[in-house]
């Protein structure tokens, strides 16, 4: 019993019909191909519609809405606001003033912690927060690319944590245990990490291809398996544990393996950013210009048609998860060779695997979209720490804002309703006719 109507004049081929969200149903395409080129004669109107009601505007408005929600949280938990709320009807100005102070203080420290700090002397010092942002963004770009690539093949890789941990275990071991010349050591460690992530991701692809096991379940489970495995290795002398220590922590990385800083010791930005940008370009090439990417996308949009067209769907699942895992693994490598080079424990992934999902969604699974989304979220992270230090607002608020952004982006009708935007005509959901 299929639900496929046989007698409709224009059957919607896409199983989702939700091209404007960028996030469709998983069994079908997960991501839209983006804007269709505008057709004359209404080229200008369509273009306007696209900007006003389409994806870019939705993304920006989603960010705004989420920031507003964050502001509300900041305001209601602010001590002064709470105190002044008690006599709101007597002197409303006090409370409004307190709200303004709390929110503006928080967001200005967020900005100064992530983009430019005006209180520092000179441009080179003032720009340091932005460099921190780039540093935080680096692993997010890499992991976001991995998750996004999976999305394009119709796979939801929630296994970022596990893939990072395995990559870290291998690259980390190479980094502290081997003695190799500078440069070569680093390359070997990076390759080791790529292999580790690829392996852990590949298992998922293999299980999906051979047995049909759903990747969401297997990735979640493999996260825990990797966590306990690495925890075990970290407390086992001779494995990853630092010699002479009782803590579940590895020795520091050798100097020959650490990513050198890009713009001098003053800034935290390191060679990892270059790797990230190279990864963006490679993924762009795979998805837009290569035969492999063509097959990936065919499988992502319609695995049945891909199979009938002679594309080995199972192999695509495996290869995409291998590449996805490798990219996520690279994020792990950048963590230990770029950010935390003094040895790692089992919490080293720092939630990047999950952040990467939101990055990929915000970037609509397109390589450059992911790049910019990662920089935004990197800014939230960098600024979040500054905000916590300066205003005493817990960094957890960043999680709230990030997840709300993604929720809003996922539901454009909601955002349009909030801002009374027009529904873009070109993207209107194809109506099923004569559905049976």
């Amino acid at each position: 019993m299929t639900d496929q109507p046989t007698n409709e004049p224009n059957p919607g081929l896409s199983s989702s019909g939700m091209s404007d969200t960028g996030i469709a149903h998983l069994e079908g395409p997960l991501v839209s191909t983006g804007p269709v080129e505008p057709e004359p004669p209404s080229r200008w109107r369509v273009a306007m519609n696209e900007i006003m009601g389409g994806s870019i505007m939705i993304s920006i408005l989603s960010i705004v809405l989420a920031m507003v929600a964050g502001a509300i949280l900041i305001a209601v938990t602010d001590k002064t606001v709470q105190a002044t709320a008690g006599y709101f009807f007597a002197k409303p100005g006090d409370m409004l003033n307190a709200v303004w102070l709390a929110v503006s203080g928080a967001y200005s420290s967020l900005f100064q912690g992530s983009v430019y700090n005006f209180r520092r002397e000179g441009f080179l010092n003032g720009i340091k927060p932005f460099m921190d942002t780039l540093n935080f963004a680096t692993p997010l770009i890499m992991a976001g690319l991995g998750i996004g690539l999976g999305f394009r093949v119709g796979l939801f890789n929630i296994g970022g944590r596990g893939q990072m941990l395995i990559a870290i275990a291998i690259a980390g071991w190479i980094g502290f245990a081997l003695d190799l010349p500078a440069g070569i050591h680093m390359i070997v460690a990076v390759i080791g990490g790529l292999i580790g992530g690829a392996l852990w991701g590949g298992i998922v692809g293999l299980l999906k291809a051979k047995t049909g096991a759903h990747e969401v379940i297997t990735t979640i489970m493999l996260n825990f398996v990797a966590f306990y495995l690495v925890s075990f290795l970290l407390r086992t002398p001779g494995a990853l544990q630092a010699p002479g220590s009782n803590n579940p922590k590895s020795p520091p990385m050798k100097d020959t393996v650490v990513f050198p800083p890009l713009f001098g010791e003053r800034y935290s930005v390191n060679l990892g950013l270059v790797f990230a940008i190279i990864a963006v370009i490679i993924v762009w090439w795979i998805l837009e210009r290569s035969s492999l990417g063509f097959k990936f996308k065919a499988v992502g949009y319609n695995p049945n048609a891909a199979r009938v067209a002679g594309i080995n769907v199972g192999a695509m699942f495996i290869w995409s998860m291998v590449i996805s895992g490798a990219l996520v693994g690279l994020a792990g490598v950048s963590q230990i060779l770029g950010t935390v080079t003094t040895g790692f424990s089992s919490g080293i992934d720092a939630g990047i695997g999950f952040d990467a999902i939101t990055v990929a969604l915000l970037g609509r699974s397109k390589p450059w979209g992911i790049f910019w989304a990662a920089i935004l979220f990197g800014a939230f992270k960098a600024g979040g720490y500054a905000m916590q230090a300066a205003q005493g607002i817990p960094i957890d608020i960043v999680l709230v804002v990030q997840s709300m952004i993604v929720l809003f982006i996922a539901a454009p009708p909601l955002v349009r309703a909030v801002f009374h935007l027009p529904t873009p005509g070109v993207f209107r959901k194809r109506t099923k006719i004569e559905a049976v």
Binding site: T2, S291, A309, R430
Partner: protein, 506 residues
Amino acid sequence: MKLELRGITKRFGSLVANDNINLTVNPGEIHCLLGENGAGKSTLMNVLYGLYHAEEGEILLDDVVQDFAGPGDAMAAGIGMVHQHFMLIPVFTVAENVMLGHEETTFGGRLNMTATRKTVRELSDRFGFDLDPDALVEDLPVGVQQRVEIIKALSKNAQVLVFDEPTAVLTPQETDELMLIMKQLRDAGTAIVFITHKLREVREVADRITVIRLGKVVGEAEPTATNEELASLMVGRAVDLMIDKGPADPGAPALVVKDLSVIDHVGQMVVNRVSFEVRAGEILAIAGVQGNGQTELTEAIMGLQQHVTGEISLDGKPLNRLSVNKVLNSGVGFVPEDRNVDGLVGDFTVAENLMLDRSDGEPFVKFGNLQLGYLATFAEEKVEQFDIRAQGIRTLVGRLSGGNQQKVVLARELSRELRLFVAAQPTRGLDVGSIEFVHTQIVAARDAGVAVIVVSTELDEVAALADRVAVMYRGGIIGIVPGDTSRDVLGLMMAGEHHDSRGAVA
């Protein structure tokens, strides 16, 4: 109960699916709603059943205006529907399916299965259905599932019963039985709406006939009208499905299939020791009622089935146990049964779909790089050659009409060097113009010396194309007969009777 539809208009965006339709059905009457695929019959019935809300017009039952917010209201008012795609839950029992939506409960909210079983048995006995209330629906044959649908409607005291294309999945024999049931129901005073596009059935049971075309009522007819009259009403012009086709000039056997069996995922033998051959330059039509193994047979040839035994060879080279890709590369073109699901990627452009099954090597790919320039030239050429009506080669295929989508599939499959061309239900859901185009292309492929297999459930299509006809029944080939075999004989074969067992020689 008398049903009346007055001025029903239903729009989907700019498309008018029903345009000011009037229809009256009296109790004790079978009213046929005749129309081509896509004429708007099912939309009208979904409006009647409360699934859609019409922009204009009203529904009257015994002269009382009704306002249905959903199917629940329609059912409560006495309308029952036997859907084209059965609305049964496969993992529920017959009784559970029948009770769903108006369950009776006993102490503790416990479902009253006993009462429902009794209802099922009573209704089943009345019509001689022989239904087991505790059988799982997924285990029942299609014909029996339809009876569950009928009982489901009757158990809700339906006074108006809508049959939506009920014979599509039935053998001629089962169809005859259904006709009897419908007459029985009519004689019991039920008002029946019978939706179909099959003229013979209409003439057999209809008391009145209303013909719909492009969403409008284009005429009423008496059951005494001839097939030609009805057909020309239905499609708006005299139809001649026969295309110009010269006699076949068959060459050496190209495809040879020996003892082929296919086992499906639940362990059923869906294709049972089938042997046949197709020669170069001939069309072998595989006829049969839907679901008798035709789909699995073509999929087995393409390498799309898992558990296949027996031999398949093309020009002497074995084809079985090859991957789909290798089968395609050995010169096999394939038009799958359901182009939406298996033939096209809706979110890909026309151009991308045209290279879908050649994404591995030249000319579309060099050193792993897509040759976008070559693809554009190629696509422009094919769009021209196959008259694909799209705004451009970068239009998403999902936005094309069914006919143009099918042309994309044909363009892709026919622009390679072929030795064998397999077309499964190549014209399903297409308009008459597209059907002609597709048929012409298939015959052209034959005349170019390609061995062709056409799978079709429509006898008209079989008659138009076949040089020889193989009829499938329950997984086996019941017989292979010449293309000009009469419909009656084919019909009997489709019901599982051996051609020669009746001694009739064409």
